[in-house]
């Protein structure tokens, strides 16, 4: 469609040039034709006038005025001769002289109409006539102020170097009209070409206008006039993430606006919120209504220049919070929260960036609203950058520590949990909270997961013992990670039965795709565990929706079980629930003998913690 518009535009411009060219050429042609005809006529005129002068001079040898005044018969004869030149084109021919007062008076008049009498005053353009008297030269005067006359030729009658009269020949406008008539067919052709071309032009322009209008409407939210998701879909295809930071914005407590003031007020707030956004951002920034009261901002960033996204977002939040929304006698103030992602180019896709911005938006909400969150963890943590993690992977500085998980009844190691670490450029070890957030959603994250899986399978093969590793539930949803996982399982089919995948962040996700994928993973003999169960938003319906084998009770419940009645009751309930569901229970954070004793009393199957065994780089070989 875009290319079609360019072609249309090219033709439109071409047509315009053709029209202008034709117009100019025809104008030139008309002018030239008129000039040519004029010159021919003037040439003929000169011939006639010279004959008139010759005729007068044949009869009057000197003193023109006196000779003519004293001889009316001569005047009549000369006027008759002059009158023979009168045609529809040569309208008037006459001879005037200038009297002592500077007035022009008739000497002779060969005209058939409106004949002037001898010595009668005639009001003419004295300036032109005076110049003929002065120069003694022939003169052509275009009569713009005389309606029925086109041009007048003035010719001096000179006796002894003195002008004693001026012959005037007036051309009627009929000659001019004749010239126009000659040119008329050409003008008509031009007119038809012009009308046809112009009509075509109008049709094309109208079509382009309709296309643009339809396109504009399809990509614009009808309420706020911001771009909509259709536009986002196109934008995702072509945007260069090196040029943009991305922010997700949401109006705080907007539902209350609708509930308390009605939807009209809600709409009014949304419309004016977008206007405030437009005022606060820069011309190259893009606003998209992502959903209800959620807006995406693509904040332009010039290459090699410092990002101004934070300043822009701060301006947005300040402007919105200071604005008083007044609608039908109701007024309210509202704030907004934002999640900001800088260096968006580090992410795999725009979708990943939007997801990250959304997560940070919710982080901003949970931290009290009316704020911008642009990082995932506290700044005081010594974090590794994406590049540093990638370099560590390239230089094979990834390793796993293994923490034993014991069967409490036998005190034997049932399996190990693989815990990922990165070795710094020195010997310093980096833990997951120092780099996982940074690489989440990137290819580096997928590569890291792949490396961990390879290490785990290597250790399983080496020791023929069960191992578990952590994955986010969202990793299973992610196509690239899931495909990699299946590929690795396929490659180590015989070892897959020793693998347990511990799922994190499972509370908000459960759908058919996920279920299918977990079933597919389990088909290799892999066991599925829910990590950190009992904290956060643990949802019991997960047991209904997903085929779970193991529950790992969150350490925060286990660590106080020996002196907190509440923790005791919760753990007891979870253990009983798991038993009824036929699931294996593992208690984390077993840090003392007292805790271990209580877990044994509650018949918890397995335990893991510093009291039983710390994570270590070396694989233990015995109990």
């Amino acid at each position: 469609m875009k290319q079609l518009n360019i072609i249309y535009s090219f033709f439109v411009v071409l047509l315009l040039f053709v029209l202008v060219y034709l117009y100019v050429r025809l104008g030139d042609f008309e002018l030239q034709a008129k000039k040519n005809i004029e010159s021919v006529i003037i040439k003929n005129t000169s011939y006639f006038i010279e004959n008139v002068e010759k005729n007068i001079k044949q009869h009057v040898k000197s003193n023109l005025y006196k000779s003519l005044k004293s001889n009316p018969q001569l005047r009549k004869e000369l006027e008759t001769n002059m009158g023979m030149l009168i045609t529809p084109s040569f309208k008037y021919i006459y001879v005037l002289y200038r009297d002592s007062a500077g007035k022009y008076r008739y000497l002779l008049d060969g005209s058939k109409e409106e004949k002037g009498l001898f010595d009668m005053k005639f009001d003419i353009d004295t300036q032109a006539w005076d110049s003929v008297y002065l120069s003694k030269e022939k003169k052509i005067v275009t009569q713009d102020d005389v309606s029925s006359i086109w041009i007048t030729t003035l010719y001096p009658i000179v006796y002894d170097g003195e002008v004693q009269g001026v012959i005037a020949l007036d051309f009627s406008t009929s000659l001019f009209q004749y010239i126009s008539k000659v040119l008329s067919p050409l003008k008509d052709i031009f007119l038809y070409v012009f009308v046809a071309t112009f009509s075509l032009l109008v049709v094309i322009l109208y079509q382009m206008f309709l296309q643009l209008k339809t396109k504009r409407e399809s990509i614009t939210d009808p309420l706020t006039k911001a771009y909509n998701r259709v536009y986002l879909r196109d934008l995702v295809e072509k945007i260069n993430l090196y040029n943009y930071d991305v922010a997700m914005l949401d109006l705080d407590h907007f539902k209350k606006v609708n509930d308390n003031f009605g939807h009209d007020m809600g709409d009014y707030v949304l419309v004016n919120f977008v206007k405030l956004l437009q005022k606060s951002i820069r011309s190259k920034d893009i606003i998209i209504r992502f959903g209800g009261e959620e807006f995406l901002l693509f904040l332009y960033k010039e290459k090699k220049k410092e990002s101004q996204a934070t300043e822009v977002m701060q301006r947005v939040l300040k402007t919105v919070s200071q604005y008083n929304f007044v609608y039908e006698n109701s007024s309210l103030q509202i704030t907004c929260s934002a999640g900001l992602v800088k260096e968006a180019f580090k992410y795999n896709s725009v979708q990943q960036v939007i997801k990250k911005a959304d997560e940070r938006l919710y982080s901003a909400k949970s931290r009290g609203r009316n704020r911008i969150v642009e990082s995932d963890i506290s700044a005081c943590v010594d974090r590794l950058s994406l590049g540093a993690v990638k370099q560590a992977l390239d230089e094979e500085r990834l390793l796993c520590h293994f923490q034993p998980i014991f069967t409490l009844s036998t005190k034997k190691i049932a399996k190990y949990e693989a815990l990922v670490r990165l070795r710094g450029e020195g010997e310093k070890l980096y833990y997951p909270n120092q780099f996982l957030d940074t690489i989440e959603g990137t290819n580096v994250y997928r590569d890291l997961t792949k490396n961990v899986l390879e290490i785990v399978f290597e250790k399983i093969a080496e020791h023929q013992i069960a191992m578990s590793m952590n994955l986010n539930l969202s990793d299973i949803i992610d196509n690239s990670i899931y495909e990699m996982l299946i590929k690795e399982l396929e490659a180590s089919k015989s070892l897959a039965q020793f693998l347990t995948i511990e799922l994190l962040e499972y509370e908000s996700l459960a759908n058919d795709i996920l279920l299918d994928r977990i079933v597919a993973i389990k088909s290799y003999g892999v066991k599925i565990a829910l990590d950190d169960f009992g904290s956060g938003y643990s949802n019991f319906s997960i047991f209904e929706n997903l085929p779970i084998d193991i529950i790992k009770i969150d350490g925060s419940l286990v660590k106080n079980i020996d002196n907190s009645k509440t923790s005791y009751i919760i753990v007891e309930s979870i253990a009983r629930l798991a038993k009824r569901l036929g699931l294996v229970v593992i208690a984390e954070f077993v840090h003392s003998k007292a805790v271990l004793d209580v877990l044994e009393e509650l018949d918890v199957r397995c335990g893991q913690g510093f009291y039983l065994g710390k994570p270590d780089i070396l694989m233990p070989t015995g109990q």
């Binding site: 008037y92 006459y94 409106e114 309606s147």
Partner: protein, 148 residues
């Protein structure tokens, strides 16, 4: 059909423009001339009463500032003659309009205004001006003639 329509439209537009411009230019020139003439002939009068033998021209005079067109000759300050009006026994000031009228009435008329060869011509007759005791402003003196 479209071709015919365009041609007809073009013809009428050109005709309209030509007629309007021609008529407008002559009319506005006439108005200016008549306004000057009446002001010069009756410098003291705030309202000059004009009678004309041509009703269409009456409309033109009525548009001039300080001019009222009257129906009876006896009520008029000046008679504007355009046709073969009998002026022999008339004691009112007469102004001739048109070349032939001017030539015919030069014994009685104070002056004449006419179009000759497409040019506006104005002439005041000296002896008739003196008879009426009228002294023209300097700007119009060049139009005063000894007409026999």
């Amino acid at each position: 059909m479209a071709k015919y329509g365009v041609s007809v439209l073009k013809f009428f537009i050109l005709l309209f423009i030509f007629t309007i411009s021609l008529f407008a230019s002559e009319q506005s020139a006439e108005k200016r001339v008549y306004a000057s003439i009446l002001k010069a002939l009756f410098p003291e009068k705030t309202i000059v009463k004009v009678w004309s033998d041509k009703s269409e021209k009456g409309a033109l005079f009525s548009k001039l500032d300080g001019v009222r067109v009257v129906a009876q000759k006896k009520d008029a300050d000046i008679l504007m003659i355009f046709g073969p009006e009998d002026i022999e026994n008339c004691d009112k000031m007469i102004f001739a309009n048109g070349y032939l009228v001017f030539r015919r009435s030069k014994g009685k008329a104070i002056g004449g205004f006419y179009w000759q060869k497409g040019r506006a011509n104005l002439t005041f007759i000296k002896k008739n001006l003196e008879k009426e005791g009228i002294r023209l402003p300097k700007s119009l003196e060049k139009y005063v003639e000894d007409v026999e």
